[in-house]
Amino acid sequence: MQYHRPATFEDAVTLAAGAQGVTRFLAGGTDVLVQMRSDIVTPDTLIDIKAIPGTHDITRQEDGGWRIGVAVTGAEMREHAELDRDWPGLVEAMDLIGSTQVQGRATLTGNLCNASPAADSVPAMIAAGVTATITGPDGSRTAPVEEIPAGPGKTSLARGEMITALHVPPRGTGGGDAYLRFIPRTEMDIAVVGCGVNLVVEGDTITHARVTLGAVAPTAVLVHAAEDALVGRTLDEEALTALADLAEASCNPIDDKRGTIRFRTHVAGVLARRAAKIAYDRAKGAAK
């Protein structure tokens, strides 16, 4: 196994593109190191990206959006008051991952690239409309984060490609997001179902809605029909019921040790209702 600690993304990409066998990028290592110790993955090349300048920065962009470096940890996001004010759902999704110790290491980009269907931050990122800058041997491109995970443990990134930054859109006015997950315990667990909701309101009326589900399909699910069901109306009981039905209909889960198909489908509806209420209240609060 070879360990590299490049100083630039160009060097990192060159190393990754030229590496043989299994390559892993190392940021917080809360997935990679655990997988190595459990004999799930034994990389031939390990590329530590934490020495690359800018990877630890959370930066406000000119348009009011945010650039989040690929080595920014959950704890750094949690403690960033302005980011938390704009995107509390995204921050709380990341904050739910692991223990205090894990929060000091784990990164948003790592959670995305680990490509677990149950990743907490991914539904929240998709709901928020987060995009990623991807750099590879042929240059850089931008993609919405929902295009990155391709299935459990698999990403759509080509050999030699890596994510160099995540971009959270400007919050604007009247926006609110929320993320809820179901776990059998109160913490230190993996989502049996996760749900992210991002709403924008004018007065009581919803003008924009994105609802996502985690752990109910091979990759996070964007509930497309939710936008039609919610936009142009208030979040009344009828809207909530419609949302819950749409969430349940979007599920394509598996039976496993963490939950049954029936349980996951039912709880997806429950969480969609609950998360939507929180997001709606936040959006209305922000609109005032």
Binding site: M188, D189, V270
Partner: protein, 749 residues
């Protein structure tokens, strides 16, 4: 003079809450646990384990492993003793498979190398060829006709004819005529209950460092609840003389019964003998789950008859326990504990010990009792609901007390069940209002407690301080309790006493720290050893004063003349006597050896409030109160800790902990991510009430407290959840999906 310090009141040190003697070591990292030992030239070991639930071992090829750099030895079953019988054979068969791998994780070979990484790589290079056999992991399925036979001829004479060969032990006890009793009842409820296997979940994985030479002399450092047992078993498994193996117990990171046997120690010694180097072996967490000793899973039927006034007329229980691929599931305890809290005219209990393709069960805190209480106390709860009776009053009406006959035979001596029920009834928790969606459950629980072979030695130092050597590893604060009891007898401050866990070469035989026996038995022996030292201290004072020994008594750490007739002498402090002990007759020590048999049983009553989220099936325990008879709480903070610990483990067992096996018979959750013990935020503050009904069998009235605390929780929580959900929960764990299914079927029904 013959000293007798027996008392149940007027204590100076017993009943206080001084700092724990091991606290500094543990918060500074100085404490040495199993994996903390090193030795010059030490090798690291790794164990090759079966990936199959049941498979014949056709061939083990170690050629590639042995050829690897740094590899010094490989052992298989051929490197252990032959001709063993009984439990020694069972343990060896579990420690290293013979012809057949009997469960996922069963050890088949082991390797020692110069680094942990080399050992792991070499372990992977060991090639094993298997013939896969049909398997069974469920207790009911293992009893069905046609179930795979795990071992032929394993059943003993207790098993009636016509049962499946996987049933290896059978128990039946009780008295009266249960059918006549049921005929007297106004309401009879019979129900079926199921619990899944759980693990003790101790934070420290098994670890040891062994050295064994060609001369048959060995040293072993290990994390264990009983190092004399380790010594005896390892000597047998390796063909050694017991006394030639010295075993030292490390500081222990939890055991809860799971460290009362051996898993890796004989392997480290066998590797050491072959490599002629010290060998260190540390289990991974996955190995702990797969190949140490979880508790039994159960399938139980309970039937209880009651009159409208709450009188129980008859009770009957059938308890089927699987304990893995070896005899030993504690079904006898399950059967005997089931109805112990109640004074019954007609009672019958039956137990089955069943083999499955799972790891060999080990003791887990009151082995067998919590499951029995779950089934029995659930049925009593249902009877109380149907007959509109108060659950505590009903239990009081039927409670066992001094002079009544236990469900398993003997007459009860002085016991404290009624006192715990009365204290629970008087506790504000019992009448506190419940919020919507919440339910309250109560349950009683019982554990026998144990005495066992015990040796203690006490030595005075020149400065008047004392050291105590006990042989029972400290798993629950026993060093503090020993020091407090010795302080009480010697009349010197707690801080002037140091209690050490002696190794097997430094003290006489001691049974394992199990059966909640330590504060009782080692405590009794400590008191007796201290009394022996006091007698000698008095004798030295008598000699100095030139008066008869029986004219001297001991008070507040001083020898005093017993009255004006004895002479007019100033009290002689302990330090003045010990300062000159070398010249006045030699070292002053005390020791005591016995098998005390007066361990007092302990009963408890728990009150639990649970809240159920009807949309997700999620349960939160919102309030919990433990009421338990401690006889005499020597160090109340530790006693409260034992009460809370039992409740916390019970909450895990009741709500989320379980061994999950796939269709392939392999364990699917060998880690703390998917084996869900409670985290701190899952638990409420657990309130405790110490009831003290002195045990007549102990000088200070002590009863063991460590195990009884886990007996009521499964039932108390199930009763609370059932009340909150409005549907009877009969299967553990009550995970969210199971509660949701129960709510759904109640709605459909």
């Amino acid at each position: 003079m013959a000293l007798d310090s027996s008392k149940t009141t007027g204590f100076k040190y017993v009943g206080t809450r001084p700092d724990r003697p091991d606290g500094f070591d543990k918060v500074t990292g100085r404490a040495k646990f199993g994996a903390d030992a090193t030795a010059p030239g030490m090798l690291f070991a790794a164990i090759k384990r079966s990936p199959h639930a049941h498979a014949r071992i056709l061939r083990i090829d170690t050629t590639k492993a042995l050829a690897m750099e740094g590899v010094k030895a490989v052992v298989t079953r051929a490197d252990f003793a032959t001709g063993l019988t009984g439990e020694n054979w069972n343990i060896l068969e579990n420690v290293m498979a013979g012809d057949t791998a009997l469960y996922d994780g069963h050890a088949v070979a082991a390797v020692a190398a110069t680094s942990a990484l080399s050992a792991r790589d070499a372990m992977k290079a060991i090639e094993v060829e298997y013939e896969i056999l049909p398997h069974v992991t469920d207790v009911d399925k293992a009893m069905e006709p046609g179930a795979p036979v795990i071992r032929t001829g394993a059943a003993d004479a207790s098993v009636p004819e016509g049962l499946h060969p996987n049933v290896v032990r059978y128990h039946k006890s009780g008295h009266g005529d249960v059918e006549a009793g049921f005929a007297e009842a106004d309401l009879v409820i019979e129900d079926h209950f199921v619990t899944e296997a759980t693990h003790q979940g101790y934070i420290e994985p098994h670890a040891c460092l062994g050295t064994l030479g060609a001369d048959g002399k060995g040293e072993l450092w290990c994390c264990t609840q009983g190092h004399w047992n380790v010594q005896k078993v390892c000597a047998a498994l390796l063909g050694l003389e017991t006394s030639q193996l010295r075993v030292t117990a490390s500081e222990i990171g939890g055991g809860f019964g799971g460290k009362t046997t051996v898993f890796i120690e004989p392997v480290a010694l066998a590797l050491s003998r072959k490599a002629n180097r010290p060998v260190k072996l540390v289990m991974t967490r996955a190995e702990v789950f797969k190949a140490s000793g979880p508790t039994s899973s159960t399938s139980m039927d309970v039937r209880i008859g009651m009159k409208t006034d709450g009188t129980i007329t008859a009770a009957e229980g059938v308890f089927r326990l699987q304990g893995g691929a070896f005899p030993g599931a504690p079904m006898e305890f399950t059967a005997m504990c089931a109805f112990a809290p109640y004074d019954l005219k007609h009672v019958r209990q039956v137990g089955y010990d069943v083999l499955t393709n799972r790891p060999k069960q080990a003791a887990y805190r009151a082995p067998g009792s919590p499951m029995a209480a779950f089934a029995v106390e659930s049925v009593i709860d249902e009877l109380c609901k149907k007959l509109d009776l108060d659950p505590i009053d009903t239990r009081l009406k039927n409670a066992s007390h001094e002079g009544t006959r236990a469900s398993f035979g003997p007459k009860w001596p002085r016991i404290g069940l009624v006192e715990t029920l009365e204290a629970a009834k008087a506790h504000p928790h019992y009448t506190a209002p419940l919020a919507p969606g919440q339910g309250r459950g109560i349950s009683c629980g019982f554990w026998f407690n144990h005495g066992g072979e015990t040796s203690v030695s006490l030595a005075m130092s020149e400065d008047g301080s004392a050291q105590i050597m006990v042989g029972t590893p400290d798993i629950g604060g026993s060093r503090a309790s020993m020091a407090l009891m010795a302080a009480e007898v010697l009349g010197i401050p707690y801080e002037n006493i140091r209690c050490t866990i002696a190794d097997t070469a430094s003290l006489g035989y001691n049974e394992i720290s199990h059966g909640s026996r330590v504060t009782y038995a080692s405590g009794l022996a400590t008191i007796k050893a201290a009394e022996a030292a006091v007698e000698e201290l008095c004798a030295r004072a008598a000699a100095k004063w030139g008066i008869p020994e029986d004219a001297v008594y001991w008070e507040d750490g001083c020898a005093k003349p017993s009255g004006p007739n004895a002479g007019d002498f100033e009290p002689l402090p302990i330090a003045e006597i010990t300062a000159t002990m070398g010249a006045t007759g030699g070292p002053i020590n005390g020791h005591f050896e016995a098998t005390p048999e007066g361990a007092g049983v302990s009963f408890a009553t728990h009150i639990v409030d649970a809240e159920v989220d009807r949309e997700t099936g999620s349960t939160k325990v919102v309030r919990y109160t433990v009421v338990q008879d401690a006889g005499k709480a020597v160090h109340p903070t530790y006693v409260e800790g034992q009460f809370q610990g039992g409740a916390a483990q019970g909450i895990g067992w009741a709500l989320n902990e379980e061994y999950i096996y796939g269709e392939d018979g392999r364990l699917q959750n060998a880690g703390f991510l998917d084996y869900r013990i409670p985290v701190a935020s899952d638990l409420p503050m657990i309130d405790t009430v110490i009831v003290e009904v002195p045990n007549p069998g102990h000088p200070f009235g002590v009863r063991g407290v460590g195990e009884t605390s886990i007996c009521p929780p499964l039932a108390a929580i199930a009763n609370a959840v059932s009340a909150a959900a409005g549907v009877r929960m009969r299967q553990l764990p009550m995970r969210p999906s199971r509660i949701l299914e129960a709510l759904d079927s109640a709605a459909d029904g």
